[in-house]
């Protein structure tokens, strides 16, 4: 996608906002046992899953919303949320763009979404979408030949209940935290990945190709398992903004890496950030955690966060297996009135475990950006090491950057290093670029990209280019 496309998509239309009335199959607002039973019933789930959801609900009803984050927002009325908005089945969906609600199409038009993307985003039945279908079908064939399972969560419930029962909630238990517990009770769909022993997944798995499961709703659940010696790289999100009317998002992602396995999880998040006065925008309260369960396993989180009004997100690693490695590379950008409280937790349990944290926070406009990170070395973590680098870049006079590093070391042989910096785009750097004939916006983009380089280089190539463009767009007008 070219820069002008994204430009049209993200800035202009987002700035003006858009409202579309779409008829949908939605239950009445409010949450009780009957809603949870209804969701589970609609999905035809086995008993164990219903029981699990009900335990989560009972637990959630005794919990209180946490307020320790560096975030300010209007209270969320959980009784005003509708917890089930049916994702339309592909067969019931529109057969072609001609059958799609014209208002939705008008919205895409306004956003400048490319034609071939519109059909996919509008949920046109797979067979009617020419562009991505053939590609996706080929991909599915290659994956199944390799023995990789990659499907919507609800499909996994039907086809792979044993795997699900074995792994679901083992990294993020249903008691974990307010939002994860809520998710456990009411999640509707998400992704499921299983890579069998010794298999290197033959391609990057992207939600882009996860057909039929686009409308996963506000409570998404993802579970990825890399069995012994397996490797998988998973890409979440897309730089094109997705239409979404739900303000609260509370997703859960669980990763399990067994012995010698590796999981690389990359995210580009670009949900509606609200307008320039801070009205509207997605509240994104996400729990992402991976467990390096086996020896020599490795989990890497790379995220580029440019969207959402509120981001509350700490992709973490539990380093249980000896010699296991956890990595977290993050770029978080806030502009206008966006707020982000994001970081990671590295829990070192096994001997000789290693973790690296590189966080780049960029604050513009009235944006507030907080890094919050925990590095914990348990008594068993002999010879464990962590390196943390945490840099903030401020633009303009009203933005803010905050750093909250928590370090707990209970093993004397463990080593923890923390480096932090806060800087501004200097007049010197800007003038240097201008003097070389490079315009202000390009110069700022260049300097900011340079600042983020160590994170971008962790992204898969194509994603990195998108992320860079997206960053440019989200910071447009931030200087000058």
């Amino acid at each position: 996608m070219s820069t002008p496309d994204i430009d049209a998509l993200v800035n202009r239309s987002y700035r003006h906002g858009f409202v579309t009335d779409i008829e949908s199959d939605t239950v009445a607002p409010g949450l009780d046992e009957s809603v949870v039973r209804m969701i589970s019933h609609k999905k035809g789930e086995p008993q164990f899953l219903l029981d699990w959801r009900l335990r989560a609900l009972a637990h959630w009803q005794r919990m209180r919303e946490p307020h320790w984050a560096q975030l300010r927002y209007q209270p969320i009325d959980y009784e005003a949320i509708s917890y089930y908005s049916a994702p339309k089945q592909a067969k019931d969906g529109p057969k072609s763009l001609a059958d799609v609600d014209p208002k939705l199409l008008a919205t895409y038009e306004k956003l400048g979404v490319p034609l071939h993307e519109r059909a996919r985003l509008a949920g046109v039945a797979v067979d009617a979408v020419f562009d991505s279908v053939s590609v996706a079908t080929t991909f599915k064939e290659r994956l199944s030949a390799a023995g990789v399972i990659f499907c919507p969560f609800s499909e996994a419930v039907q086809k792979h209940p044993a795997l699900l029962e074995r792994y679901l909630g083992t990294v993020v238990p249903y008691t974990d935290n307010f939002y994860a517990t809520l998710n456990s009770a009411v999640f509707t769909d998400g992704s499921f990945v299983y890579v069998p022993p010794g298999v290197r997944c033959p391609m990057e798995l992207s939600t882009y190709f996860r057909i039929n499961a686009l409308n996963t709703g506000q409570f998404e659940r993802t579970l990825i398992i890399a069995d012994v010696g397996a490797y998988v790289s998973y890409l979440e999100g897309c730089s094109a903004p997705m239409r979404d009317e739900n303000q609260l998002h509370a997703a859960v992602v669980e990763l399990v890496a067994l012995e010698d396995a590796q999981i690389k999880y990359s995210t580009v998040q670009n949900w509606y950030p609200g307008d320039e006065h801070g009205r509207g925008g997605i509240y994104n309260f996400v729990t992402k955690r991976g467990e390096c369960r086996g020896r020599n396993s490795r989990i890497s989180w790379t995220q580029v966060e440019t969207g959402s009004a509120i981001t509350w997100k700490y992709p973490s690693c539990i380093l249980r297996g000896e010699n296991s490695v956890g990595e977290f590379y993050s770029v978080a950008t806030v502009n206008n009135y966006q707020q982000a409280d994001t970081g990671t937790k590295m829990i070192h349990i096994g001997a000789n475990t290693r973790s690296t944290i590189v966080s780049k926070g960029i604050s513009a406009g009235h944006g507030q950006n907080a890094y919050r990170g925990l590095v914990k070395m348990l008594p068993s973590a002999h010879g464990a090491r962590n390196f943390t680098q945490c840099d903030s870049l401020l633009m303009g006079k009203h933005s803010g950057a905050h750093t909250f590093p928590y370090i707990e070391v209970r093993n004397p042989s463990a080593i923890v290093e923390h480096e932090a910096s806060t800087s501004r785009i200097s007049e010197e750097q800007l003038f240097y670029c201008l003097q070389r004939g490079i315009g202000t916006e390009d110069a700022v983009n260049m300097i900011v990209s340079g600042f983020c380089r160590t994170v971008f280089k962790e992204l898969p190539m194509e994603f990195a280019v998108e992320a860079q463009n997206l960053l440019a767009v989200s910071l447009e007008g931030a200087v000058g």
Binding site: E428, Q429, L434, Q435, G437, F451
Partner: protein, 272 residues
């Protein structure tokens, strides 16, 4: 009304025939920095292909002159004018001046971490080429162009993939400035104390780079404290700046005389 227009046109036509238009024409330029008057009426004309040296003691205003011409923010132009190829230089944004062929070699080139040296240079070159309605160079064409120049500047090719000035030594930074100049081929290169902090070998390399640019299409202004550089890049004109004024202009021998007699000689004149 019509009469006035005709008079103006006739006058400029007459000026054009009288002498070739100057590349840069500075008239009675007065500049304040932080409320302090730094330039107190500079007039200077630079023709295409000429090499001028501007010398002067610390605080005489020579760096200010270079920066104000390049459009650095923070300078208040109190009065006077500067025209570059007949255009009002001060009406142009810094990047427009650069694309139009004005280059400033910085005394202290800033580091831009993570930004690839070649990437910045390619963006700069293509910005200038767009301005001249020339096709942009792709990565291969660019590399071919740059390779010859880095050899001339005795720079290792790995230099290109490093961050802009990131971790460069003082000498490397200066070579990089001259490399950029050679790639961009400006009509006017203002080199602010490019010689400072260089050992003799590096100075020769840098001087050699500057002499390579020298030619009828390229004017060069060497802003320097010392005469030393002028042994290698021999200027056509030398101007001595003291307390915000040009107190003397002459040829190359002025620089030698200045070295012999010291800046007190001209400073005294400025006070008088």
């Amino acid at each position: 009304m019509t009469g006035t227009v005709e008079t103006g046109a006739a006058a400029s036509a007459a000026a054009a025939t009288a002498a070739p238009a100057a590349l840069l024409d500075i008239r009675d330029l007065q500049v304040k920095v932080g409320g302090q008057q730094v330039l107190r009426g500079i007039s200077l004309t630079i023709g295409a292909g000429q090499v001028h040296a501007i010398m002067g003691p610390n605080g005489s205003g020579k760096s200010t002159l270079a920066h104000v011409l390049a459009g650095r923010p923070g300078y208040e132009i109190v009065s006077g004018s500067a025209s570059f190829e007949g255009r009002d230089l001060f009406a142009l944004a810094p990047e427009q001046r650069a694309r139009g062929g004005l280059f400033l070699g910085f005394q202290y080139p800033v580091e831009i971490p993570g930004v690839n040296n070649a990437y910045l240079l390619k963006a700069a070159l293509n910005a200038a080429r767009r301005e001249r309605s020339l096709a942009e160079l792709d990565a291969f064409e660019f590399l071919e162009l740059v390779r010859a120049k880095i050899k001339l500047m005795q720079i290792d090719e790995s230099f290109l993939s490093r961050g802009v000035n990131e971790g460069f030594s003082g000498g490397e930074k200066k070579r990089n400035e001259i490399l950029q100049m050679l790639v961009l081929e400006p009509k006017l290169a203002l080199l602010d104390e490019t010689d400072s902090g260089l050992d003799i070998d590096a100075l020769k390399v840098v001087a050699n780079g500057i002499n390579t640019l020298r030619g009828p299409q390229h004017a060069i202004v060497l802003v320097t404290h010392y005469q030393r550089m002028l042994d290698f890049v021999v200027p056509d004109f030398v101007h001595v700046l003291a307390r915000g004024r040009i107190v003397r202009s002459g040829d190359r021998t002025l620089a030698l005389e200045l070295e012999k007699r010291g800046y007190d000689w001209v400073s005294g004149q400025a006070a008088a």
